[in-house]
């Protein structure tokens, strides 16, 4: 569990990036911080591994105030994945993945063996182990970044727009991969993005932020979709623009047990299970996701 208690951060130049922020991030869940550029997402994330220290307030991991922990040690037990992978360009893939275990003094053989397994875990061919990062595609680099983040088997994984720089198809792929991984691993993931579709797809819980890391709304994707607290949220998640307000398209004859859904502009947005023409009351979350989210469908394709 990660807890922010009345945390503020003012940078030396006077920018108040985070203003009195409080949040509890439950263990083994994916919490997504989403908001437009400059609202303080990265700053929040970096306060968890003490890359940035708060000006006031405190941050606790499993009820322990991290201000008292040694930053380097703290960082080595928290996975960190960022945009543009941040891999070391002068080290081969295998060495990049094994970076932290090697820093920790794990024998080279063990660290490499584990790194090889991690390549499997993130869906990379082992033959890439001896390449340099510049010899990989953007999507492959991000996978290596994720493998590196998992190398010490951390409880916490911080991800700062990890899929922000890859093309939409690769992104959809990586997102599905992360969902699969998380089902297996059950880490506490704090994920930062400015893409609301990505937030709804990945987040058990989503926190929508405004400038100064002010929480506009927080809840499960369904809760937020069902009840946007204000116009800012409604616009941000697209309900206001009608993009997410779906209705059954009566003009197409359904040939099976599916009904076609269209958004308020009339564009086809998905299908919904409707055995015998009656919409099923979805109880499994993946189904309700595939209704509410286009990105998901791209990923399944």
């Amino acid at each position: 569990m990660i807890e922010f208690r009345g945390v503020s951060k003012q940078f030396d130049d006077g920018t108040l990036a985070v203003d009195d922020f409080s949040l509890v991030i439950p263990s083994h869940k994916t919490v997504v911080l989403v908001g437009s550029s400059g609202c303080g997402k990265t700053t929040l994330l970096r306060m968890i591994n003490r890359m940035v220290d708060p000006t006031s307030g405190s941050i606790l991991i499993d009820d322990e105030d991290i201000a008292g922990l040694e930053p380097v040690k703290l960082r080595r037990r928290i996975g960190y994945v960022m945009q543009n992978s941040g891999l070391l360009p002068h080290r081969k893939v295998i060495d990049n993945v094994a970076t932290v275990p090697l820093l920790e003094g794990v024998p080279k053989r063990d660290a490499y063996a584990r790194a090889m397994e991690l390549l499997d875990t993130v869906g990379l061919d082992r033959s890439l182990a001896n390449r340099y990062p510049s010899q990989l595609s953007g999507g492959q680099q991000q996978r290596v970044g994720v493998a590196r983040g998992l190398a010490v088997d951390p409880n916490i994984l911080l991800m700062d727009e990890p899929f922000g720089a890859v093309d939409p198809i690769v992104r959809a792929d990586l997102q599905q991969e992360l969902i699969r991984l998380q089902q297996e691993l059950g880490k506490t993931i704090v994920f930062v993005t400015h893409d609301i579709d990505e937030a709804f797809l990945l987040g058990d819980e989503v926190v929508i932020l405004q400038v100064g890391a002010q929480i506009a709304q927080q809840g499960t994707p369904s809760e937020i979709l069902a009840n946007p607290t204000n116009e800012f949220v409604a616009n941000f998640i697209g309900v206001g623009r009608g993009k997410r307000r779906l209705s059954v398209d009566g003009s197409v004859e359904s040939n099976g047990n599916d009904l076609v859904l269209v958004d308020s502009a009339g564009h086809a947005a998905g299908v919904v299970d409707a055995p015998g023409g009656v919409i099923a009351n979805g109880d499994s979350s993946p189904k309700s996701r595939s209704i509410s989210n286009k990105t998901d469908q791209a990923g399944d394709a």
């Binding site: 591994n49 890359m51 380097v72 960190y80 543009n84 891999l87 360009p89 510049s134 983040g149």
Partner: protein, 224 residues
Amino acid sequence: MQWLWENRDLVFGLSLEHVRLSAIPIIVGLIASIPLGWLANRFRVTRAIQLTLFGILFTIPSLAFFITLPSVLGTKILNPVNVVVALAIYAIAIMVRGAADAFASVPRDVIQSATAVGFSSVSRFWKVELPLAGPVLLANLRVVSVTTVSLLSVGALVGNGALGYLFINGYQRDFPTEVMIGIVFTLIIAVLFDQILVAIGRVLMPWAHGVRGSSRALTVGGAA
């Protein structure tokens, strides 16, 4: 050619001397410039001071340097230490700016992510910043190497110029062949040094081979 054959011991001896006297300042320049360049890159104030200071040092005419150093160092004017010290100061003056640029060329993204995964600042310097500064350091070191090898000849005017002796002697005796031989051997040494540096770079930085372009792109991306 005949002159060269008759004087092969002299030319060979002077060449060895040339290698020795120019290698020392190059190595000193590299070693001294690394901490100075790192500081200059890290702190804006020291950068301004250092670059101005070394900029001024570099404008001192070499001959004036060779002549005044003995009184500063308390050495005899013919002592080769004078020339070596003067050349080392020039080497540092060039290299500090180069080293500052080299450390500035390390992508900020990479430094940040190294910090994020748990490099201490010391291990980050040795394992990340220094190796990644390598290609630009090497490029500057090659300039310093050529400069040092050719400047050394000026030392002949104060009695310690290794192959430069052939220039002065040949000029005084109005014997162009000797001057030519001096030039050719100086050139050979300069090229030799350069090739050695390139080879060392290949061995130490296999990752930089043909990757320069993309690491540049990364820097730009990081700044955006």
